[in-house]
Subunit: 191 residues, 2 copies
Amino acid sequence: MQSQAQNLPTTLNGIDLAAFAGAGESLVANPELGQVTFRAKTAWQGRLKSRTEISTWDAGGQTIVRRHRIDADEPLEILGENTAPNPQDLLLAALAACMSVGFVAGATRAGITLESLEIDTECSLDLRGAFGLDPNVQPHAGHIKYTVKVRGNGTREQFEQIHREVLQLSPNYNHLAQPMAFVSELIVTPS
Amino acid sequence: MQSQAQNLPTTLNGIDLAAFAGAGESLVANPELGQVTFRAKTAWQGRLKSRTEISTWDAGGQTIVRRHRIDADEPLEILGENTAPNPQDLLLAALAACMSVGFVAGATRAGITLESLEIDTECSLDLRGAFGLDPNVQPHAGHIKYTVKVRGNGTREQFEQIHREVLQLSPNYNHLAQPMAFVSELIVTPS
């Protein structure tokens, strides 16, 4: 029995299966651990550049240090210096990265070994809207197109089911698909 | 007259004022130049990591090469390796970077010199939703909080007006505030 247990796979798609199951069980037993807060500080860097610093997030009542940096700029054609992805690039990455996590989690839950997973995303808009040149032109893209290309040992039906679950469960897909509310404050310091 | 013209500022907030005015005039004269498409390719990198590559965008009927990379990962506490910002961090950065561009453009249009501009963003959610553990728990954050801290030689009223314009004109603010439609395709290759 011991040798049989040792032969069972302990990871799938790089994910530790015991940790994966344990994370779910832990959240069911202690729902308060599921409360998380993401926060970012974005500072203008001159012209149309900005730098976003992630330094902490809250999970399960604790504030955890975690340092990441996300630079943004506009292309030359929109008066930027093209030193970094632009805000729409970042939005597409935020969507596809979140859906990617959902696909991997769904496949792992279903016992499917993934070989590759790619998500192509695209959105089109009319700059006259964002430039405030025509009030009849919307500033934003009306829709986002995406294509998921997945290779693995699941059936088409299994991957379709995982896709449906991703649309139900992905935070960023739903952040976009559903109207977001905002709570804002403007602090002005005269110079 | 010549010396007076030479003393006029040619840039404000790092932005070339002639190019700024010219971009608007060009879009009014040639509306088709305003049609742009952003696209991204996101590939799974094992575990919960992904890499998004930006390689082209379309502007004014031309496809323009522009290379940027956006990595994503999850924190250790969500079974990731914390090698990069997570999808929610990227979403907050996409929002704040876009609003930052809008504030700088609005201030520059109003002749205001900015000294600094910071946007703090935050969203909270319950991981039990995204983990699919409780159908009564939403997977997404119901709202995003943000604080704009601006220092410059404009009045409070001017900055409030710019803030209102940003909410009207910012693509990513509106991508989130309004429900986004999606057009999707799933391509499955058996391994």
